[in-house]
Symmetry: C2
Subunit: 443 residues, 2 copies
C-alpha cells in the first residue's frame, strides 16, 4: 500500500490564487500531492485512502519553503565573528577557521544541524554549496530533506582539496558518487566566484556541469571590492566577465547579484540565468541591496536564500522573506516595490524553477508533497486577514508539522527523522574544540 | 513575607560586561533584583529567602526588552493594508479604519493582545501612544506589563476626542486619572506630529507635560513628504521647527528621526532629547533608515521600538534589534557601524533611560526585576559563542519565562497573568466586524 496523508480542517495558503481558503484538505499519495480542496469537495474516498490523518484545525497549510542558498556546515561558525567587513570576516576569521576545523565529520554533523534548524522553521528543500559535499548530501538524506548539493570549486587550497589543481577532479568524483543515487538529492557544482577561480577553472567547471546536466552555481556581484578585483585585470564587471566566458545560461545560478548595472541586468535577462539573493547576509556584511524589483520587472528569474548562517545568522526563511520585501521598499523608497506575495513566490515556486526541482513549491495536484503546517492561533498571528501574514507576521517558530516527499519528518515541533539532541551534542563538541584552539592562539 | 524568586543554573547575559557567565544565579526581592552571581558566590541564604526557585538549566537570563514605541491597539489592523505608501496607507486605510472601529472596548482588548504578543516574545516594558489611552493603561495593568502610556493629541477629530479643540483637556483628564495610580504605569502625552498639530497645540501639550513632569512624545522626521509639509509653510526642517517652539529637552522623545541633517543632529545632541527608531516600520513604509550610528557618535540618546504592528507587522523586539544592527551596516556600507551589543543596549538600558523608567533594563542589584529566560538548547541557537546570538540568532519565540516587577507573568511559554485565549477571541470578533464592514463597503 502506498503511504498517503490526509490533512484536513486547515486554511490553505494557495499562492497561485493569492487567496486564503478555509476548511481546506489535501491528500498525498507517495511523494506527491494527489488532491486538494475545500470541505464541500471532499468525499469518503480521501479518508479511505489515507494511511495517516492529520486534523489541522487552526493551522495554515503552505508549501514548504525552499532555501536557495546556504553553506549548511557553517552552522559551526554561527556567531564566531560578527560585525566585521566582508574581507576581514573572510580572510581573518572564516577562512582560517575553515582551514583548521572543516573535515568530513564536521560537514556531516554541522549540515545535519542546519537541516534540523531548517526543518523546524518550515524549509523543506535547500541548495547547499560547500566542500566534502558528499557528507552534506549524506546529512540531507539522513534528515529527510530535499537538496541540491553542490561541491565547491576554488583555486585555493580547500577542505578536502589541498591542491587546487585537483578541484575539478574532486567535483567529478562527487558527481560520480551522487548522480542518480537518491531521488531527493540533486548533485551540482559550485564555482566559488569570478575572483577566486581562473577563467580556465570556471570554464572547466561549467563544461562539466553541462556534460553531466547538473546545475552550476557561482557567487557573483556581491561587493564593491569584488567589482574592483574584476575590473582591475579584466576591465569589466563580474557579470560581463561570466558572460564573456560563456557561463550564463538557464542552468547557471548567480548568487547575490547586488552590484549590477543596466548591461549586467540585460545579460541576466537574455541568458535566463537565475539569481538567488540573500538579503540578510547582504545587510550583515554591508554588501548592499540586490535590485530585485528591477530584476523582476525584466523577468529575470529571482530566488531567495539565507546564505551560510555565519553571515545571517539564522536559517529561517520566513525572516528572509520579510526582509526581502522590506529592503526592496527601502531600496526604491516605494512601499509598493515588492509585495509579500512576490516574496513568498521567490521562496517557493521561483526557487523551485531556478534550482531545477521540477514540480515543487506549490499546493497543486501532481506537485511534490513538500508541505508545512503553521499554528495560526497565536497572539502575534491574530487577526489574520490574508496570507501576507506569512511574510510580515509569521516566523519559523510557528511551524508545527513538516512533510517532505510525502513523509512526515516533523510533527508537533518534534523532528521524527533523526535524533536532533545527538546532533547538537556533536556540534557543541566541535565548537568546544574551536574555543580551545582560539584560547591557545590567544595565549 | 516579601515574594522572592531564585533563578539558578542559567547563563547570564550581562550587557554591562559584554560577557557571558555560566552557572549564574539571580535573586529577586519584591520588585527588585536583590543579588546576582555565579555558582561560586552563592550561599544558603539565597535558597532560604526564595519563595520560588526556578532551575534554568540550558537557559539564558537576560534583562526584559523594552519596546520604545508602539500603538498597541493597532494589533486589530495587523495585515489589513500592506505594501502601500505611507500617505495612502494612513489616509485611505488606517485613518478610516480607526474612525470606524476604534472605541474603548477595542483599545482595551487589542492592547491586551499586544501585551500577550510582547510578553510571549520577551518584552517587559512598552511605551505606547494612542487614543482612549486609559483603556490601554488598564490592559497593561491587567497583563502585568510595565508601560509608559501616552494619550494622543492631534488637531483632527480622533477616537474619543471628536472635537480637536478638546484634545488637551482629554490629555489632562487622562493624566488626572493615571498619575500616581499604579507603580508600573507612567502616564504621558503624545503629540502626533509637527504636521498634524499646530504650534499652539504642540506648545500647550509640552507645557502640560512639563507641569505634570511626564514624558512628551512626538513623531518627527519620518518621511520625505513630512519634510515638504513642514518646509512649505515654515521654511525649515521638522526638528528645527520643534526646537524653535522650545519643545526639545531631555523629557522630549522624538519618534523615528530618519530625515535629519547635520543641524538637526546638533539640535538633538545639544537638547539631550531622546530619539526612538523603528527600523522595520521604516523599511515597510519605505521611509528610509535613521542615521543611528551617526547619532550614537554624537552621544544622542537612541532607543528602539517596533511601531504599531500595522506597519511592521510584528512586535518582536528580537527581530527589531537584528534589523536595527543590519540596516545600520547597510546605511553606512560598513559592517562595523552598529554592533549586536549596541543594538541590545538600545532595546534595554538606553530605552529605560530615555523613557524615564529609572533602574530598569540591566541585570544589576537594585534594578527592577524585569527578566526573561531563553531556551538556548535549540538547533538555531547552537553553538553559542557569545551573547550576540541574542540579536542575530534568537527570536521572541525562544523566550520561555518572563518576570516583570518581580512577578512571574509567563512560565514555560504560558502567560499566567490573564486569559490569552479570551483576548484572542475578543479581537477575532472585532476583526470579523471589520471584514463585514469592508464587505458592505465593497458590495
Amino acid at each position: 500500500m502506498t503511504d498517503s496523508i490526509l490533512i484536513h480542517n486547515c486554511t490553505l495558503a494557495v499562492t497561485a490564487a493569492d487567496t486564503l481558503r478555509e476548511d481546506g484538505w489535501l491528500l498525498t499519495r507517495g511523494d506527491t500531492i494527489a488532491a486538494i480542496g475545500t470541505a464541500d469537495t471532499r468525499t469518503q474516498a480521501e479518508t479511505t485512502e489515507a494511511t495517516t490523518i492529520i486534523d489541522a484545525q487552526g493551522k495554515m497549510l503552505a508549501p514548504g519553503l525552499i532555501n536557495g542558498h546556504n553553506h549548511c556546515a557553517m552552522t559551526l561558525f554561527r556567531g564566531l565573528a560578527d560585525d566585521l567587513e566582508l574581507a576581514a570576516w573572510l580572510t581573518e576569521h572564516i577562512f582560517p577557521a575553515e582551514a583548521a576545523h572543516v573535515n568530513e565529520e564536521m560537514v556531516y554533523h554541522c549540515s545535519k544541524l542546519a537541516a534540523a534548524e531548517m526543518i523546524l522553521s518550515g524549509t523543506t528543500s535547500v541548495a547547499d554549496g560547500y566542500f566534502f559535499e558528499g557528507q552534506a548530501a549524506r546529512a540531507f538524506v539522513d534528515s529527510g530533506m530535499r537538496a541540491v548539493a553542490a561541491q565547491g570549486v576554488i583555486d585555493f587550497p580547500a577542505p578536502g582539496v589541498p591542491d587546487p589543481a585537483g578541484n575539478l577532479e574532486a567535483a567529478a568524483r562527487f558527481l560520480d558518487e551522487w548522480q542518480d543515487r537518491n531521488p531527493r538529492i540533486t548533485p551540482a557544482i559550485f564555482a566559488h566566484s569570478p575572483y577566486t577561480c581562473s577563467a580556465a577553472t570556471l570554464q572547466g567547471a561549467k563544461r562539466m556541469a553541462m556534460e553531466r546536466q547538473v546545475p552550476f552555481f557561482i557567487h557573483a556581484a556581491e561587493s564593491r571590492q569584488e567589482q574592483e578585483m574584476i575590473r582591475e585585470p579584466r576591465g569589466t564587471s563580474p557579470v560581463r566577465h561570466l558572460a564573456a566566458l560563456g557561463l550564463l545560461d538557464p542552468d547557471t545560478i548567480c548568487i547575490h547579484g547586488i552590484w549590477l548595472d543596466e548591461e549586467d541586468l540585460d545579460l541576466l535577462a537574455q541568458s535566463r540565468a537565475g539569481v538567488i539573493v540573500c538579503p540578510q547576509s547582504h545587510l550583515k556584511l554591508a554588501s548592499g541591496i540586490a535590485p530585485v524589483s528591477a530584476m523582476l520587472k525584466r523577468n529575470i528569474r529571482v530566488g531567495l536564500g539565507t546564505d551560510g548562517c555565519a553571515s545571517n545568522n539564522s536559517l529561517d526563511m520566513f525572516r528572509e522573506m520579510d526582509i526581502l520585501s522590506k529592503t526592496q521598499k527601502l531600496h526604491t523608497l516605494e512601499a509598493t516595490s515588492l509585495s509579500a506575495r512576490q516574496a513568498l513566490r521567490c521562496a517557493t515556486s521561483s526557487n523551485a524553477e531556478i534550482l531545477g526541482l521540477g514540480k515543487t513549491g506549490q499546493l497543486l495536484p501532481g506537485y511534490k508533497a513538500d508541505l508545512i503546517l503553521l499554528d495560526m492561533q497565536q497572539p502575534h498571528l491574530s487577526p489574520c486577514y490574508n496570507q501576507d501574514l506569512l511574510v510580515y507576521g509569521a516566523s519559523g517558530a510557528d511551524v508545527r508539522s513538516v512533510i517532505i516527499d510525502g513523509r512526515l519528518v516533523m510533527h508537533d515541533k518534534k523532528i521524527l527523522s533523526f535524533d536532533v539532541e545527538d546532533t547538537m551534542r556533536e556540534v557543541r563538541r566541535l565548537a568546544g574544540a574551536i574555543c580551545e584552539h582560539q584560547g591557545r592562539n590567544r595565549g
